[in-house]
């Protein structure tokens, strides 16, 4: 049917990545069409009346119609029935959206300012990129390491808040291979709009290979460090000289330098200092060039970085000299 296709094309929804998304769009199209009809009725009636009953003279007589019980019952009851239908249909979709199959493949998902981390049961970790197999139910166990975040995949029509101190759940079964955009949709501070991630849906074989693969195989320590920096540090720590507006110390020329701290003490930035600052950032809070302390806003990375990655960052920092 031409007009139905037309309506479908004009709903502007993202591509459908799951069966739920297809169901979602059917209900959405139904409501859009029902809404259009109601708007045409109300606004059309309004336009017709105001044009037809335009005031002709100041002595116009108007009809004295106080109410009409049958008419009023009809326009209360009919919307009520439509609302019930929509409610039932919407609830049916919601229940499927929420109930993960028992055999779902689980991925632990952590939100933190301002990126998403994914931890697989095999020990594989990934930041900003979740790789999952196609046609397999995936269940996310979501938490937050700091403030509220929300995990939103438009192509799957799903969303779930990441709440610190509790686990929330979300599931999906992607039916097409491809890349899907993830947004954070719960306001979480400065870089909320940059808290993006990708879901990469691949074939089962590719997924197994990815899961086994060590991403750092064959890389030099400084290259590992550069990758970790790009994924975890770059949002706050610059490689250029410190600006007055910087929210965190610059990494340029940091290694080997004497660091001044908020409590008045100081130390040389050696390997042990770097390691401590990453795993327990608030142990020593650095001062700005102006002498004022930085805000202690960095989350602790204890348990999130492997020794290989820590070593990589340390070696990477040593290369940032001018």
């Amino acid at each position: 049917m031409f007009w139905l296709n037309k309506a479908h094309a004009s709903t502007f929804m993202p591509p459908q990545g799951t069966e739920i998304a297809t169901q979602y769009d059917s209900l959405y199209e139904f409501i859009v069409i029902a809404s259009l009809i109601s708007c045409v009725l109300v606004i059309g009636g309004l336009a017709m009346f105001v044009l037809k009953y335009k005031r002709k003279s100041e002595t116009d007589k108007t009809a004295y119609i106080t109410h009409d019980t049958r008419l009023e019952f009809a326009w209360s009851f009919i919307p009520f029935v439509i609302f019930l239908v929509v409610f039932g249909w919407g609830t049916y979709i919601y229940v499927q959206m929420r109930k993960a199959p028992d055999n779902a493949f689980e991925v632990h998902t952590f939100g933190q300012k301002w990126n998403w981390d994914f931890v697989y049961k095999s020990g594989k970790k990934s930041s900003g990129l979740m790789v999952v197999p196609v046609n397999t139910p995936i269940k996310l166990i979501i938490s937050s390491r700091d403030v509220l975040h929300s995990f939103y995949v438009p192509a799957f029509r799903i969303k779930q808040d990441a709440v610190p101190g509790r686990y929330t759940k979300l599931w999906f079964e992607a039916n097409k291979v491809g890349d899907y955009q993830v947004f954070c949709t719960e306001y979480c501070g400065k870089d909320h709009s940059n808290m993006l991630a990708k879901i990469k849906v691949v074939t089962n074989e590719e997924f197994e290979e990815w899961l086994q693969n060590n991403p750092y195989k064959g890389l030099a320590a400084t290259e590992i460090g550069a990758q970790v920096y790009a994924a975890k540090c770059v949002a706050c720590h610059q490689k250029s000289a410190e600006q007055a507006s910087s929210i965190a110390p610059s990494f340029l020329n940091l290694f080997g330098k004497t660091r001044q701290f908020a409590d008045g003490s100081s130390t040389t930035a050696d390997e042990n200092y770097i390691r401590e600052s990453i795993l327990n950032p608030n142990a020593k809070v650095a001062k700005r060039i102006s002498g004022e302390a930085f805000s202690p806003i960095m989350p602790a990375f204890a348990g999130q970085l492997s020794d290989e990655e820590l070593m990589g960052i340390i070696e990477f920092l040593k290369t940032l000299k001018e």
Binding site: F49, K54, H67, V147, Y152, V163, H192, S193
Partner: protein, 529 residues
């Protein structure tokens, strides 16, 4: 006729000087104080809106950085909600016309009425202090734990909102008692104008819901300043609890914002179609119905928050119920126009604009109430577009219509009809150009409160920004139309529109105690026979 009236004395020249205004107990003068305050706040909140839309004109930073953007959206939201839309109609138009609609000399507690205005001013001043401490960047919702850990003046904004809450509570208290106790002889409940029914329902919400916000904000302050663990999981608290508390107030607050607007529209439609309202009791009781149901729908703001699925489904169902009385009102207004004698003055244009935009806001509300659909739309631009269609397309249109409608009564002068119509055209078209594309952006998946966005969203954001500038021009012209009318407008007669409610039976502007003789009421408010 009393001596003072013979000398041309009215409430404006009854006493003279700034001090007489700042210490007045006259509900009409307090209404004017609110009018000035709300217009100033609106200009500030509107400036933030223009900054936000200009920043979003294209992807990437344009005129500000992420921190400044987050502050702008926080101040835009907090100012528009707490200082413009909530006091907008009740405390300004309601203060002026509720006693006159009832045939009363004043509200029941004139001193408390003045205190409520000072609460708003003091609350606003406290909010301003936050600017010394790097402003606030939490959004107007103050969600924990971000609002606890963010390092700036958020505490001052929270405390300011707490104090302003008292302004709202005291106004509501005054209206409830006034409606019960100060009706003129013959003014039964069913002889009251629908504006009074709407304000009465609103007042109940203000008195019952606002204290919950006050307590919540105090708990938040205790947590921020003294480290009491209530909402922060690091201290053993629960961040979702804050959302329950917050929306237990803030959802009824949505109806505090829209119910009075519905009251204004009922007045405008009858007056300009010279016709008795269709279904008086249905409209009156639907106001009460909306007020009651509004207490049980707060969870629809939390469908993705981690509350239980069963709770979500229940909240979705109850939210659907709000649609029924709202639909009744809309159909009754349209039916009132049938066989009327309709004159297209600006107040009616704004009322028709209200009906047009509110209908779109209403049907998209049903989409959002449907829990399955909500999940995708939640916290996207679809929600932003929906609530602007209701709050701006609804409440602000009603305020503008109400100002033009009652300006001759309040100041005894007429506004310039031509320029008032120009403001309507600019605001109405600009509004749709701004916010309709945002429905599409939301459907495409653009989240709200985003300083920056993906390139795919850029063209619609550009259109939206052009629309916002058009609205801005419209409101600047409207300000001139109103100010020029107040000081230089043609003298208005006592009843320029031929309306039937009691305020039009007295002089324009009204004398000190509204009526020279207490009116005796013998029939309904819209007896156009």
């Amino acid at each position: 006729m009393s001596a003072s009236h013979a000398e041309g004395k009215n409430y404006l020249n009854w006493e003279k000087g700034l001090w007489s205004w700042l210490t007045t107990f006259d509900h009409k003068r307090i209404g004017i104080l609110y009018m000035i305050t709300v217009m100033v706040f609106f200009a500030v909140g509107g400036t933030f809106a223009m900054l936000i839309r200009t920043e979003l004109f294209s992807a990437g930073p344009n005129i500000m950085d992420a921190n400044q953007y987050n502050q702008s959206m926080t101040f835009h939201g907090a100012i528009m909600v707490f200082m413009v839309i909530i006091p907008g109609i009740p405390a300004f138009l309601g203060n002026f016309f509720l006693p006159m609609h009832l045939g009363a000399k004043d509200v029941a507690f004139p001193r408390i009425n003045l205190i409520s205005w000072y609460c708003l001013i003091v609350g606003a001043a406290i909010t301003l202090v936050s600017l010394i401490y790097n402003g606030a960047d939490t959004g107007w919702t103050f969600y924990t734990p971000y609002s606890i850990e963010t390092d700036n003046g958020t505490s001052w904004v929270v405390f300011g909102a707490f104090v302003m809450g008292f302004s709202s509570i005291l106004t509501g208290l005054n209206f409830i008692v006034t409606t019960h106790k100060l009706r003129a002889p013959g003014m039964t409940f069913f002889n009251m104008p629908l504006f009074v029914w709407a304000l009465y329902s609103t007042a109940v919400l203000q008195v019952l819901a606002t204290p919950v916000l006050g307590i919540t904000l105090l708990l938040l302050l205790a947590e921020r300043t003294m480290g009491v663990g209530i909402f922060d999981p690091a201290l053993g608290g629960d961040p979702v609890l804050f959302q329950h508390f917050f929306w237990f107030y803030s959802h009824p607050a949505v109806y505090i914002m829209i119910l009075p607007a519905m009251g204004v529209v009922s007045e405008l439609i009858t007056a300009f179609s010279r016709k008795v309202i269709f279904g008086y009791k249905a409209i009156a009781f639907s106001s009460v119905g909306i007020a009651v149901v509004s207490f049980f729908v707060w969870g629809h703001h939390m469908f993705t928050s981690g509350q239980s699925e069963a709770a979500g489904i229940l909240f979705s169902f109850i939210t659907m119920l709000v649609g029924v009385p709202t639909a009744i009102k809309t159909f009754n207004w349209v039916a009132t126009l049938y066989k009327g004698s309709i004159r297209f003055d600006s107040p009616l244009l704004f009322a028709l604009g209200f009906l047009f935009l509110f209908t779109i806001g209403g049907v998209t509300g049903i989409m959002l109430a449907t829990i399955g659909l909500n999940i995708h739309f939640h916290d996207t631009y679809f929600v932003v577009a929906h609530f602007h269609y209701v709050m701006v397309g609804g409440t602000l249109m009603a305020i503008m219509g109400g100002i033009y409608y009652w300006l001759p009564k309040m100041f005894g002068r007429m506004y310039n009809e031509f320029w008032a119509r120009i403001t309507f055209v600019l605001i109405f078209i600009g509004f749709n150009v701004t916010f309709f594309p945002q429905f599409i952006l939301g459907a495409m998946g653009m989240p709200r409160r985003y300083f920056d966005y993906l390139p795919a969203f850029e063209s619609l954001n550009k259109i939206s920004t052009f629309g916002a500038w058009t609205i801005g021009v419209g409101f600047v012209i409207a300000l001139f139309v109103i100010v020029i009318a107040i000081f230089k407008g043609e003298k208005a007669s006592d009843n320029p529109w031929g309306a039937k409610t009691l305020e039009w039976t007295t002089a324009s502007p009204p004398p000190h105690e509204n009526f020279l003789e207490t009116p005796v009421v013998t029939g309904g408010p819209y007896e156009f026979r």
